[in-house]
Assembly symmetry: D3
Homo-oligomer: 293 residues x 6
């Protein structure tokens, strides 16, 4: 055998060996629903984005019913600046006046979401973009701090019938976290919170929150102090003791709420890491924090 072919064969052999090791994971999650909040750097770096989306296509292809909820901060700020609208954050929340809300919807639904839909299609799967208004998926209500933040809303009610119609036909729904209230006024809703609400309504098998940090840390200054697995009681204790702090608090709370509504497990993972979702779901190692009941 010529050397090149031999080397090729060796490589191929390693590949199928690995595939073969994924079998138990694939069997375990067959026909299960995963709701993924996709955001942060994993969405901004083009190379990482493409690979993450391929990972979505792979999960869908091996029989997992995938639902993606996406964020998209940077592009909103960019467009706001081009339109000379103020870009202002209070407590990490984008202050969203009426004009900004219009831009938020246009950019999220008309650009970020459609790019994702297109990339998923290119990867060989079939995606459908939705916002809260499509098929009345979810309606919004103002948050309690409307005066401070403007049109930042919360999920008021959910109707998942359109999602079930789509996942059963093999489509991947890609959801922008924008919804309207009964009067037709739009609200920007936190994407983690929309993902948690949808996962809860579907009692999904997993809710996966892609972030820019490694997961829940024992010591927020030491990235190596990652907690791999934690249950609700411990998580609540860590929030109380302020070990879980900052931006990780709302994420952990979204996780706890989903678990209490019947979701089996919530994963907080680092989207910056290539193939982070496959690593968390299809290997023993795990790379983030899994929260369970």
């Amino acid at each position: 055998m010529p050397n090149k072919i031999k080397k090729n064969s060796v490589l191929s052999m390693q590949r199928v060996e690995v595939l073969s090791q994924a079998l138990p994971y694939i069997q375990k999650f067959n026909q299960k629903i995963f709701v993924v909040k996709y955001g942060g750097s994993a969405m901004n770096d083009p190379e990482l984005k493409k690979e993450t989306i391929n990972d979505f296509a792979l999960l869908s292809c091996v029989g997992i019913k995938l639902i993606v909820v996406h964020g998209g901060g940077p592009e909103i700020s960019m467009m706001s600046k081009r339109l000379n609208l103020p870009v202002k954050f209070i407590d990490g929340q984008r202050v969203t006046d009426k004009k900004t809300m219009e831009i938020v919807e246009m950019v999220l639904v008309g650009k970020v979401q459609k790019d994702l839909v297109n990339l998923i299609n290119v990867s060989g799967a079939k995606a459908i973009g939705l916002c809260g208004k499509d098929g009345k998926l979810f309606s919004a209500k103002p948050s309690s701090k409307m005066k401070k933040y403007g049109f930042i809303g919360e999920v008021k009610s959910i109707d998942t019938s359109i999602l079930m119609t789509l996942v059963e036909k093999g489509f991947i729904p890609v959801i922008s976290s924008v919804g309207a209230d009964h009067s037709g006024q739009n609200y920007n809703i936190n994407a983690d919170s929309v993902a948690s609400s949808i996962a809860s309504a579907l009692k999904s098998s997993k809710l996966i929150l892609m972030t820019d940090t490694r997961g829940v840390l024992k010591n927020s200054k030491n990235p190596d102090s990652l907690i791999s697995k934690i249950n609700i009681i411990e998580a609540e204790r860590l929030i109380k003791k302020k070990i879980i702090s900052g931006g990780m608090i709302p994420k952990t709370k979204a996780a706890i709420s989903a678990l209490k509504s019947g979701v089996d497990a919530v994963h907080i993972i680092n989207g910056n890491l290539k193939h982070s979702i496959l690593l968390e779901v299809l290997t023993n190692t795990g790379i983030g924090t899994m929260i369970t009941k």
Copy 2:
């Protein structure tokens, strides 16, 4: 009986009398597919818009499978101006460079379409917004005059499976005429042409083009010279004789193409007229031009 109640009863009686007269029309189109190109003034005047959308909800509610393709010129120009992008038309076509194309998609999909979806929902029906990329509904290719017009494209291929999934579940698909080519590059496609392609692919019962004119005129300067009914041969003759001219030529050509692909009838109607679509479909009078084989 007090006078007021009597009067009310008289009114109610007139109403149900009319409903009763609509029976044969409703029976005739039960479970049939109508593809409607919705655009022009019927979309810009808020009052007219609301009423047109209620008409859509009514048609859907009495058993017609409605698919709406929308246009949306004015809002694109407005946003382009706000972003200091040039707004330029050649031969009635918007010159669409790369930056403008981005705005076209954002405005059509992220604003115009979502407003329509919301208004249809408010009217009691259930809509889903789609562009060519969603569920790979249609792909685009550059037009032959790309150098002149920029990213103005044509429909390259159609996959109607997502449409059938949705209309069978009672949703009204609302489609923006934006699609991508294999590389992911977006194109703005003429909405009449997208509507005609979809109607053709579905061999729909009707294709209805809402315009700002009364229909096909014998004498383009006399709005009272409306031709109520015409067949393909006559239509082709009128184009040749230049009696059909200007903006009516592409519309008539889209109509002829749809008829040749198996659509039963094409209606060109004046969207400016209140309830124009109900008048054309549910009364004997008709108000526009019906083109048949």
Copy 3:
């Protein structure tokens, strides 16, 4: 525009305006089951009959699952007389000996019902005639006053499977209130009571009793003293206080029984009034008495 056409257009416009106003009613009752007891003058006057049947076709066509139970006194008397059989009533009940029972069945099933089926078909819908024996829809038992009235029976048991099979395929079942007991002996059953039993078994959305009076009256001598809306408790009180009296008592009792079995609302309307069923169901005015829980 010539005057005649103008006038036509004005008329058409009024028509579609009215259609448009029916939307919320049609949406509200889509796919709901209505059981209608059809009888009295609305069945005897040929013009009224044709219009009532067109109303049935309209309700069916806009998505309501309609089930019609019919009466038919006059034709039975006529045939009895032709055959020299005694025509005798005690307490408003036809005294039904064995020979008369034979005629009752023949006339109701073989004439009255088949005429209705034919008229509904002619109106563009599709009807199927049934009696209690068809598909074992309902079985009969003698009433407690058999010695007095003869073969006047009551519903003993109901099997609605044939009804569901038919309404799901879009047929309108037209039911004669004749059933047999286990030995094959036929009984004539009060049509209001059969309609109430079927509505109860199906937990239908509405039970509509068409009568020859305006509805429940506060003062039975003043037809303008109509009670538009009443609940079970008040209705029972009015019976006790003898404000509801005579032939309205069994109707009100049938209504109360249906409501207690899960029917949402019962309407007692005046079938003599043209389009009475549309007026009651598709307008705000209402024209009879609605009884609710």
Copy 4:
């Protein structure tokens, strides 16, 4: 073992032995459609009637999709006489004026058919009575000899959708040969001819015509000259040679027409013979004439 039990056991053994021998016949006709014209003495003698109907229930129960078309002459004549209507026959056809037609429908649909439905129900199966008008099963047109015979009609068109809906749910349709034309005028149609039309439209496996004679005879005066099996060509030859004559001619023609439309085999059997239909279908002997292509 006591003698009585022994005898019982012997009898039981003979019984199951016989059942066991029927296996190949039952397997052969499983899920096949049989259309039976039921009439003559088999319907008039109460004992024979009950047994024939039990045979229907048995065929249905072992998996045959049975459709029964019934006749009913004697009861029509009886009722006509009671009403002092003339009872007159020309060429074996009942002369049917407008008043008689009314009686024909009432008696066939409202008495004869409903009795059959009830008897089938009592035998443990589930029947539904239909005439041409129910579900628009068949429409009628006048025969060419209308002046002579009056409202004797022919099948104009057939819509078997209601039949398929019913047999797939396990019901036995029992059909009266009365239909209406577009104007609603009723016609009495020859039951053999209706059965043949329905068998043809369904391309049924068998069409069985129950008569009062043994089948096709070589010598019409010798009942022992029965022809057990014959094909279309021979049958046509026998008609030409006038060996097939009298009332057997229309039956044979109905048979030939059904065979040419795709029915597999037509059986002409003697309904006077107990269990004639089981004998013809479930034994090797056969008892009538089978006509094949």
Copy 5:
């Protein structure tokens, strides 16, 4: 009529008469599940075997969902002897070492079961052979007396999904009582016990145990002392009083266990008697013992 034909007709008439009498039994058990333990002499005598299998085909053909569990002792012993393996029984149980277990599986699955499948196919039905491993139908665990008997096991868990898939498509499952534990080790399980477990899991209508005795006897020495019908309480009393003894004890216990799990009736019948299963199920006489709740 020549004598031979006459005689034939008489015979045929008797036959259909009998068929006709089976109607109520066939109606009663239509679409019901019967689990039959098939073993003993009924399987060893070739003539009897053929007839029993035809009875299975008949029951399946008239709409009963039949599931057969078979035994097969003699052929195992024969093959063991050919291979010089010891053939040893303790307490009526075959002592089954590892080598013998291999033979048990091979003979039961690869010979006895396949012969039955073939014979059922030849009889016109369609059979599928299964053991515990196929579709994970049942798993095994060692019995408590493993040291004494070797690889004689018990049913540990059951998954009836493959059975339902097959009977709904009209196949007759033929099951060998061999299953494996989690490590893949095979066990021979008592066929009565497997049949009882499957009947219990399916809450079947009947469990029928074919044996070489007449049923439960009052006096085990007098075969005429058969108890035709008994309930659980009496059966338990008879075991206590040792009137039920020997090999009938485990059978009666299997019966009681099945009844307690929701099986409607258990029949212990004598497979040596021709058509025993038809006699027990399709006649009034009955020939064995029926045990009910």
Copy 6:
């Protein structure tokens, strides 16, 4: 990060990288039917067997509809020897007298097949064992050389309904190449030929023949002269020129026959190589010979 965890992470990363690369292959074959002839060393070496079976489970799990046809020579010879039956081969065919045929069936169906079913179950998938008799999957007829070889047969007819029932429910059918003729006589059929017949009847996407050689060689003495891809015309030419020779001739003929019946591609691969089937199907390299139209 501690070294061990780092190393683990690196390994995991490589793994998911590989998984990710398999996406296009998995998408390509989703819901496609593969028929695999499984035999030779891949079935005899326990380690290799376990891995091959895991590969089957993996293919099934990622959405491929897998059907396995197995061989099993060595175990037949072993059992024959234990029973002192002659083990004789002519032209590579096992001479199969009546007694040997009995052993062939017992060993293949009752041992080899059941072991495979169990191993597939243990791997997490769900298998069902079948031979030609189960569900009348295939019937056999004697080969033309019966006198020479004995009960070596050929496939006479195929009924794939049981296969479709099973694969649609997610089961993996495991088929022994033993079938019976109409008289019930068993025949041993070449497993390649059974696999080819089944693939042909299903017009499967792939037929994969696992052998003990690398594939089709240009020079049968040089294993490095493998032909990776070949079409029917070339294959036929190579047979004619005797470059394809010996045992590869029947395999190539089976391949050509399958391709001509509508199979998309046939792969001849070396089952001795670990993960050979994954390598051939899920990598670009390929490791055997692919034959196409």
